[in-house]
Amino acid sequence: MKAVDVVTTALGNTMRSKARTFLTVIAIFIGAFTLTLTSGLGVGINSYIDRLVQGFGDQQQLYVQKTSSQQSGNANEPQAYDPEKGADKQGQFGMSLLSEKDIEQIGNIDGVESVEPVVAVSPSYLEGENGDQFQVQLGYPSDVNSYEYAAGEAPGHDKDEITIPTTWADSLGYDKPEDAVGGKVKIAVSNVTGEEKTFEATISGVTEIMLSNQGAQPTPSSAFNDRLYDYQQEGLPEGAQTDGYAMAVADVPDLGKQSEVKKSLTEDGMLGMTVEDQIGTIRGIINAVTWILNGFALIALLAAAFGIVNTLLMSVQERTREIGLMKALGMSPGKIFGLFSSEAVLIGLLGSVIGVGVGVVVGTVANALLTGEGGALSNVAGLSLYGIAPLQLVGIVLLIMLIAFIAGTLPAARAARKDPIEALRYE
C-alpha cells in the first residue's frame, strides 16, 4: 500500500464513526486552544516589555554601580576603616557612590573601551530663542545614541549640542521638528556660591518620546554636560571637588568580554549590568509564569492523548476482521501499524489546527477588547496581552501531532500484531 493510500484510508476510517472522532477531536481541541492562548499571552507580554525597554541604552553599555560594602558584611556590625581605601562615599539615600579611583579602575579593566561617570546637572531653566523659559531636567548624555530622532541626529560628542523632545519643539516656538534643528537654546546653571550663568547649545536633533519615556528630556552632549557640571561644582573646596558618582557607563564593544568585565567589577566591589541583565530578570518571571500556564495546557493534552488511545483501541477491536482480511490479502504488519498511527496523527492534526485557529481568533479579539479603546486595561499604554508567533503555532501543531502519534502506537501495535487467522475467526 502506498503512503498516500495509507493516509487517505486512515482519513476515511476516522470519518467512519463521526461522533467518536468528533469527541476525541474536542479533547485535543481544548488542549490546543489552551496552549495557543497561554503561549500567546507570553509572546504578547514579552513584546510589550520589549517595547517598554526599547532603547534603554546600547547593548554594549555596562551600567556600573558601587556595591554597598555593608551589604557584604553583617549590616549591623561597624565596618573597619581602611585608610588606603578611605571612607565609602555615600549618596543621599545611603547608596554607595563611585569614587574617581573606581572610575579609573573601571577604565583599566581589559575590554572596557571608555568609561564615563554619570553626572547629574540641575539647571535652573532652559531658554529658547523666543525668550520663553522652562524648568528642565536633563537626560543622560550616554543615552543619545539609543534615541529615535524625528529630525536631526544625536549631538556630537565634543560639541556644544543638545537634543530636545518633539513636545518641546512646539513650546520653543518651532512649527515642525525639522525647524528646530540648528536652533539655539540657553541653559542656566548656578554654582556652589549661587552665581547663575547661562550656556548656549545648538539643537542637533529632535527625539521621539518612547513608551519607556526615553527621549522625553532635553539631553546634552557629554562635552556640554561636563561644562555645565564643572560650573555647577565651582567654588567647592579642594578635595571635596568630587563627592562621587551614583553610576558610571562603561563601553564594552566586545560583547564576548562583558561577562569577564562584570566579574572583575564584582571583585572590585562594583556591580555591572547590561540592559539585557535588567530586562532578563523581568522576562524570566514572565517566562516562568507562561510555562506554568503552558503546563496546564499540556495536562489537558495528556488527558486528550488517553482519549486517542481509548478511541483507537475500540476501533482496532471493532475492525479485527477487517485487519485480518487486510493481512490475509498481503498487507504487512508495518503498514497496518502505519494505518492506525496515521489515524491518531490525523485526529491530532484536526484537533490542533482547529484549536490553534480558534485560539488565535479568541486571543486576538480578547486582546482588542481588553486593551483597546474603552477596554478594562486601555489606560496601560501599548499593553498587549496576546501575540502571534507563527513558528510557535506551527510548533504547537507539530507537538500535538507527535503526542497523538505516541498515543496511537499502543493501539497500532496491537493491530499490527493480530494473527490473520484468529482475526478472521473473530465474531
Partner: protein
C-alpha cells in the same frame, strides 16, 4: 499432466505444548496441479482449515515444506510471503468479509490497493473483474446493499482482481441458499475452466465436493480414504447422535485438559 502449483511434504502443525498439545496435522504430503479443482473435506477438528492456512501461507508449519510452483516458500521472509500471498492467491470466505462502509468497487480493489497500484489502474481492473461477474452496475453501491449471492460475487471479484494462480474458497456457499449456491459454484468452476485458475475449496458440502476434480478427505490430521471419512460422517448424520464413543477414545488429543471442549465440539458436529 500439468506441473504441481502447490505441494506439501510431510506437513506437521502442532498447537500448544505439554498437556494442551494438539496435533492438527500429522504429516501431510500432497500436490495440487495447475488448473485443478480440489475439495478438502473433513469435519471440524480434522485439520482442513489448518491445511488451507498453511497452503495459503497464512501460517507456518511446525515441520515439513510447502512449495509454490516447485519452490519451497515456508522459509521465505515475512515480507516476501506477504507479497506472494497478495499476488498469487485469492480468497473467498463464507462470511464474505466485505467492508460495509465502502462501495463494492472499493472492496474489490483492496488487494490492488495493498499491492500499491495507482487509483486509476485499480479502478480499471476492479471494474473488469466486476464485469466478468456481471456486477458492474453495482460498483458504486455500498456493500451492505447487496444480496447474499451478490456479496459472494463481489468477494469472488476481489479474489480475482489480482489475477491469482490459486483461489482458496473457505465454505464459499455456506451462507447461501441452494439456488444462489449453484450460481456461485458455476462461477467458480467457470473461472477454473476458462482461466485455468486452480481452485482449493474447503467444505462440508458433499455435493460441492463432488463437482471438484479431486477430493481430499481429512480426518484427525491425516488424509484418509473417502469411505473411512464418509462412514463416520453418515453414521453420525443418520443417527443424529454424537459421534460413537469408541472414536473418542482413539482421538490423539484425548487425555489432555481440553477433552471436554473437544467432546462438545464433536457433539456439535454430530447434531448437524
Amino acid at each position: 499432466m500439468e506441473p504441481a502449483v502447490l505441494e506439501t511434504e510431510n506437513l506437521v502443525k502442532v498447537y500448544g505444548r505439554g498437556a494442551n498439545r494438539f496435533d492438527a496435522l500429522k504429516g501431510l504430503t500432497l500436490d495440487i496441479k495447475r488448473g485443478e479443482s480440489v475439495a478438502v473435506i473433513g469435519k471440524s477438528g480434522s485439520g482442513k482449515s489448518t491445511l488451507m492456512h498453511l497452503m495459503a501461507l497464512l501460517d507456518r508449519p511446525s515441520q515439513g515444506v510447502v512449495a509454490l510452483n516447485g519452490r519451497p516458500v515456508s522459509e521465505l521472509k515475512n515480507k516476501e510471503i506477504h507479497k506472494l500471498r497478495n499476488e498469487s492467491f485469492g480468497f473467498v470466505f463464507q462470511q464474505f468479509f466485505l467492508n460495509p462502509n465502502q462501495t463494492v468497487l472499493e472492496n474489490v480493489v483492496l488487494p490492488l490497493k495493498i499491492a500499491g497500484l495507482s487509483k486509476r489502474e485499480r479502478n480499471r481492473r476492479g471494474l473488469e473483474a466486476l464485469e466478468l461477474l456481471e456486477m458492474a452496475d453495482k460498483a458504486k453501491n455500498k456493500a451492505t446493499d447487496l444480496s447474499g449471492g451478490q456479496k459472494q460475487r463481489a468477494c469472488i471479484a476481489r479474489a480475482l482482481v489480482t489475477n491469482p494462480s490459486v483461489i482458496f474458497a473457505d465454505e464459499p456457499t455456506g451462507n447461501l441458499d441452494s439456488k444462489t449456491s449453484e450460481v456461485v459454484e458455476n462461477i467458480l468452476f467457470g473461472l477454473q475452466r476458462d482461466r485455468g485458475i486452480t481452485l482449493v475449496i474447503v467444505t462440508h458440502d458433499d455435493d460441492l465436493a463432488a463437482k471438484c476434480d479431486r477430493q481430499i478427505y481429512l480426518k484427525d490430521g491425516l488424509i484418509v480414504a473417502p469411505e473411512q471419512s464418509n462412514t463416520a460422517r453418515s453414521e453420525a448424520a443418520s443417527s443424529g447422535e454424537p459421534a460413537p464413543s469408541g472414536q473418542e477414545a482413539t482421538e490423539p488429543w484425548a487425555g489432555g485438559g481440553s477433552t471436554a471442549s473437544r467432546a462438545s465440539e464433536l457433539g456439535k458436529e454430530g447434531n448437524r
